[in-house]
Subunit: 346 residues, 2 copies
């Protein structure tokens, strides 16, 4: 009857002893595995409750699963990503899996470090949101751990993907602006120079969608793209360039809402009124866009659904690593608000 040593954790052995069964049985109950009688289960469950036992995930990982899912986010400042995380959590909350996130910082080195860290920690699955890493690296990761890639196009035989139809999304914006009467519609993109990634990255596809839509409207001569980054700063600098043009655009299509925030900033500093002097549209329809004083026209890509789909695909793949990969593509919609209006009279 002596008290347990101050800092020793309750282990499976303690539970087994308390319930008068073997550790194997306890382990089976823990995993809801096949082959335990109801009485055994009840006894074990009681012992677990009595002792306040929780399995040590690190140890479980040595033989089986860690019940941990890693989510790599490119940028924790972009208000779009929380939507995806919410969608993931909605699904995973009901399961035994714990979600752990890490910032990829929009850099190949940082992303490699994060993915390696997740692999080394024995994570059962990973969700990579808008990764910039090479396809080779993504497939390498997916070869080791079940992987879902979010927001990146392209078909892979080893990982599942969930993405938004960025080509269509960009066209929605261009058409909306052209319908309002704009011709000089400029675009601010997140710079992408690697040809191997151009076909896959959402930012590159939005830019391509912009080009195609401009051509479709007979505005090929008005195509005007500034390359910066999907950050507030990127939007600010990009807009400054555009506003300095001799024939400045009457509308700016920012590749992401976070970019639009910087654009608004630059436009306001230039003493221009939105939408009277210039129209602004974003992409992502973050809660920021809906905000009264901002009221930004934006493309909604249903981040929560994206996240939920990613979670489901990941669970399926964890359950069966050999099933064929799936590509889920969701359709965006345009939410027109007060930052877009007909252009000022020439």
């Amino acid at each position: 009857m002596e008290p347990p040593a101050q800092h020793r954790r309750v282990t499976i052995v303690d539970v087994a002893r308390h319930a008068q069964v073997s550790t194997t049985t306890v382990s089976k109950v823990l995993r809801n595995a096949y082959g335990t009688s109801p009485q055994m289960r009840a006894k074990v469950r009681q012992a677990i409750a009595d002792l306040g036992y929780r399995p040590y995930a690190a140890a479980r990982g040595m033989r089986g699963q860690t019940y941990t899912i890693g989510v790599m986010l490119p940028d924790i400042r972009n208000p779009f990503f929380p939507e995806i995380v919410d969608g993931l959590t909605d699904i995973l909350w009901e399961t035994d899996y714990q979600v752990l996130m890490a910032p990829g910082r929009n850099g190949e080195k940082a992303e490699a470090r994060v993915t390696e860290a997740m692999i080394d920690r024995g994570m059962d699955g990973v969700v990579l949101v808008a990764p910039i890493s090479s396809r080779t690296h993504l497939e390498h990761v997916a070869g080791i751990v079940p992987t879902v890639v979010v927001g990146r196009h392209g078909h892979s035989a080893v990982y599942d993907t969930v993405s938004d139809d960025d080509l269509t999304g960009a066209a929605l914006v261009v058409d909306h602006l052209a319908d309002l009467g704009h011709r000089r519609i400029a675009h601010i993109e997140h710079s992408e120079t690697d040809p191997r990634r151009i076909a896959e990255m959402p930012n590159a596809i939005r830019a391509e969608g912009y080009r195609q839509a401009m051509r479709a409207r007979g505005l090929e001569d008005e195509i005007d793209i500034v390359s910066t980054t999907y950050t507030q700063q990127g939007g600010y600098l990009g807009a400054q360039q555009l506003l300095a043009r001799p024939d400045r655009p009457t509308a700016i299509f920012a590749g992401a809402d976070i970019v639009a925030t910087g654009v608004l900033q630059a436009v306001s500093e230039a003493g221009l009124a939105v939408p009277d002097d210039i129209s602004i549209a974003g992409y992502d329809n973050t809660s920021f866009a809906a905000l009264g004083p901002i009221s930004l026209t934006s493309v909604d890509q249903a981040g929560r659904h994206i996240g939920a789909n990613a979670a489901k695909l990941l669970l399926e793949r964890i359950a069966d690593r050999t099933r064929p990969t799936a590509q889920v593509k969701l359709s965006p919609t345009l939410v027109a608000r007060r930052t877009t209006a007909p252009p000022p009279p020439a």
Copy 2:
């Protein structure tokens, strides 16, 4: 000379064999531990490079450290928290530690789940940002794993704290508004009813700072607090209540910038102009506040410094779990922008 089995990880045994040394030696080199000759180190390093070996963190955790630090964030939407994370990462990036984050979702149950998950995964240390859990729970966690609590006041003998002087911060806002000539200054707080937490939570202390400052300016009869939450939605609903008052306030002090976004929304919908009809101030000085069209007066609490301090304290505590706990308190500053101005003439 046969190739290694397709999917077996390279282990410390492989490295030891390749370098013709014992696993102990490899382990020591890995940890930069005392007692290895330069030649040994070189040989081992070479073998590690040759084989592309990376230690399996889950296994290391069984005996020693996992080289993982957990960060619990209450709300991944609040743009203030990335600042803290950046500060943490600045320091931890140089070390072997990997930062993994999880959302506490502003709920006691969710927080318990997250802290347990971190403990169960053998994390070497945790940073809890603005936790709402009971002090008992915090001390329980800190008794198991080195812990730094951020943004919560109160002295503990088992965990270190880093916080902002919220009492002063709130006073800065009230004084600023009172100096401009406001008397009917209202405050929107994040509701706190648990008496045990009132003395510790930053939201409660900001509210108290507001009360004290109002009294100090002889405005005790004008004290007007609405209790909601530190979210955009909370700000929106809180402002709607305030604007419906028969004698509506001429200034609203929102307890956080994210709250101010909702306030701006409600004010705009009510057809009021900022700052001509009503002044608005926030707290946190997020990048959103600096934004041109918003230009929100706010209190800067140097999130990056908070994060860096937390990281340093945590590393110190991991190195020496018996050193006395420290309480770092940083001083906020007011950043006056365009959402505050003298009240409209009565």
